[in-house]
C-alpha cells in the first residue's frame, strides 16, 4: 500500500535524522502501530544501502597541490592588476591637475620651501638615508609609484633602493628588511625595465629569507619573465632556497615549457639534486623528446647515474 505523501516525507526525514525531538517521538510511536510505515522505512533504509555503492568524488593530494599552485599564480596576477590604477583613475587624476592649476602651483611652492628648510636643518649625509624601520612606521602600506635604482653590494649584502612614493625615497638595509623586500617584489612583478628586474632578483640572493610573497615573485620571474637572462637569474636564486613543493613544481614547469635550453638545463640540474623518483618520468621524456641535444644528453646522464649510482658517484668524484 502506498503511504500518504506527508508520512512518506516523515519516513525519509526520520532516516536522515532531520525530525525534531517531538516529531521523532511521535513518528516512532506511529511506527509501532503502522506496518505500512515500517515497511516504507525499511525500503528507504535498503535504498540507502544501495546508494552506499557510490562514494563521492575524492580529488588526489597531487591534484590539489597542482590546483593550489595554479590558483596562487592566478591570485598573484589578480593582485598585480588590482595594484595598477585603472585608465579612468589615471585620466581623472590628470584632469584634476589640469583643472586646478592654482592648487598645483601652491603645492609646488610648498614643496620647494620644504626642500629649502630641509637643506638648512638636516645634514647632507643623513638626509639621503632613511632607515627602513622608520619608513615602515610612517607608511602602513607603501604606495610605490616608480623604482629608479637598485644597487646591491655582494660583499656586504647591502641593498640600496631608490623609488618614488610621493617624492623620491632612498632606502638602505638588507633583505631582512620588510620595506626592502616590498620594493624588490614590486620591481620583480611590475617593472618594465629588464635591468632593474634583474638587479632586484640579484639583490634577493645575498642572504637567506623567509618571505612567501618574495618566493612567489621569484617563481613568477623564473616562469614568466620575457627576458631569459632574468628568468635564469631567478632560477639561480631559487635553487639555493629551501626546496618547497611550489619551487619544485615551478622547476618542473620550466623543464617542460621554457623555450630557452639553458633554463631547461638549469631545471634539470636542480631537480636531479633532489634525488626523488617522482621526477624520473620527466627526465625520461626530456632525454627522449627535448628538441635540444645538450638537454637530451644531460637528462640521459642523470638517468644513468640514477640507475647506477656507484658509477655516477665515481664519475662525479673524478
Amino acid at each position: 500500500m502506498k503511504l500518504p505523501e506527508q508520512l512518506d516525507k516523515y519516513a525519509l526525514l526520520y532516516l536522515y535524522d532531520e525530525l525534531d525531538k517531538l516529531e521523532k517521538q511521535a513518528f516512532e510511536t506511529h511506527l509501532k502501530y503502522n506496518a505500512d510505515s515500517r515497511k516504507r522505512v525499511d525500503e528507504l533504509r535498503a535504498f540507502h544501502g544501495v546508494l552506499a555503492a557510490r562514494k563521492p568524488f575524492e580529488p588526489s593530494e597531487e591534484a590539489l597541490a597542482f590546483a593550489r599552485a595554479n590558483l596562487r599564480q592566478r591570485l598573484r596576477e589578480e593582485r598585480r592588476q588590482m595594484l595598477r590604477p585603472g585608465w579612468w583613475e589615471s585620466l581623472r587624476m590628470g584632469l584634476s591637475f589640469r583643472m586646478a592649476p592654482g592648487a598645483v602651483a601652491f603645492s609646488l611652492v610648498l614643496f620647494l620651501v620644504g626642500i629649502q628648510i630641509g637643506r638648512l636643518l638636516v645634514p647632507q649625509k643623513t638626509r639621503n638615508r632613511i632607515a627602513s624601520e622608520n619608513l615602515l612606521q610612517s607608511h602602513d602600506r607603501l604606495a610605490i609609484s616608480d623604482v629608479d635604482m637598485i644597487r646591491y653590494e655582494p660583499k656586504t649584502g647591502i641593498v640600496n633602493v631608490e623609488y618614488k612614493i610621493l617624492q623620491d625615497v632612498v632606502l638602505q638595509g638588507n633583505i631582512k628588511d620588510e620595506a626592502i623586500r616590498q620594493v624588490l617584489i614590486h620591481t620583480i612583478m611590475t617593472e618594465d625595465h629588464p635591468g632593474r628586474r634583474l638587479m632586484a632578483i640579484k639583490a634577493t640572493g645575498g642572504a637567506a629569507f623567509s618571505d612567501h610573497d618574495l618566493e612567489d615573485a621569484l617563481i613568477h620571474a623564473m616562469e614568466r619573465d620575457e627576458v631569459s637572462g632574468v628568468r635564469l637569474r631567478a632560477a639561480k636564486v631559487l635553487r639555493y632556497l629551501s626546496m618547497t613543493a611550489d619551487i619544485k613544481q615551478a622547476f618542473i614547469r620550466v623543464l617542460l615549457k621554457d623555450p630557452n635550453p639553458a633554463m631547461r638545463m638549469e631545471a634539470l640540474d636542480v631537480l636531479s639534486r633532489l634525488r626523488e623518483t617522482d621526477v624520473l618520468p620527466i627526465f625520461q621524456n626530456a632525454s627522449r623528446d627535448d628538441e635540444n641535444e645538450f638537454v637530451r644528453l644531460k637528462a640521459s646522464r642523470i638517468l644513468e647515474r640514477t640507475e647506477n649510482p656507484e658509477v655516477g658517484d665515481r664519475s662525479q668524484s673524478n
Binding site: K9, Y16, L51, R54, K55, P56, F57, A67, L71, D213
Partner: protein
C-alpha cells in the same frame, strides 16, 4: 565559526595572502567535491575551483560574519555551478564513448578495495555508474540537495542557507529527488 578562523578571515580581508591560502587549504577539497558533484566533469570542476576562489578573493571584504564562512563559500560555489550549468547546457545525452569514460572515472572513485570478490567488485562498479547516471537525471537543484544531504552530510538547515531558500523547500527537493532516484534504481532496490 571558531575564533582562529575569524582571525584568519580578518587577516585575509586585510590582504594577507598567507591567511587566504590557509583558508583555501582548509576548504578546497570540499569545494572541489561539491563542484564535481554538480557538474560531473573533472576538468570543469577544476575550472570552477579556480574561478570560485578568485571570486572569493576579490569579494572577501564583503563577507561580514553574518553566517559561517563555509556557508558563504559554498553559496558562491553553488551559484557559480548553477550559472555554469545554465551557460554550458551540457546535455544529459552522452555519447557511448564519453559514457564509458565517465563511468570509468567514477569507478576509480567508488570502492577502495574492500570487496575482495572480483565479481562483487564489478557489480558494485556497475551499480555506482547507474547511481551516477540516475543522479544526472535530477534537476540541478534536486541534484544539489541530494548530493549535499546524502553524500556530503550537510544538514537541511545548512543547505537551505547555502541555497538561500527555506528549509521546507529543501525538504521538498530531497523528497522528490529520493522518489525519482528510487524509481530509476528500482531493479537494485528490489534485490
Amino acid at each position: 565559526m571558531d575564533i582562529e578562523e575569524q582571525a584568519t578571515i580578518r587577516e585575509a580581508q586585510r590582504g594577507n595572502m598567507l591567511a587566504f591560502e590557509s583558508l583555501v587549504k582548509r576548504y578546497d577539497r570540499k569545494v572541489w567535491q561539491l563542484a564535481y558533484s554538480m557538474v560531473h566533469h573533472a576538468e570543469d570542476a577544476e575550472d570552477i575551483y579556480q574561478e570560485v576562489f578568485v571570486r572569493v578573493y576579490k569579494n572577501l571584504s564583503k563577507f561580514q560574519f553574518r553566517s559561517e564562512f563555509s556557508t558563504w563559500l559554498y553559496r558562491v560555489v553553488v551559484n557559480y555551478c548553477l550559472n555554469f550549468q545554465k551557460k554550458v547546457q551540457r546535455k544529459q545525452t552522452y555519447s557511448l564513448e564519453k559514457e564509458s569514460i565517465q563511468s570509468g572515472e567514477n569507478w576509480r572513485t567508488t570502492l577502495r578495495g574492500h570487496e575482495r570478490d572480483p565479481e562483487a567488485k564489478m557489480l558494485n562498479r556497475e551499480l555506482s555508474s547507474k547511481i551516477d547516471h540516475a543522479i544526472r537525471q535530477l534537476s540541478p537543484k534536486q541534484k544539489l540537495v541530494f548530493e549535499l544531504r546524502h553524500y556530503h552530510g550537510h544538514k537541511l538547515k545548512e543547505i537551505a542557507s547555502i541555497m538561500g531558500c527555506t528549509e521546507g523547500t529543501v525538504k521538498n527537493y530531497l523528497f522528490r529527488a529520493t522518489r525519482k532516484m528510487q524509481q530509476l534504481l528500482q531493479e537494485y532496490s528490489m534485490k
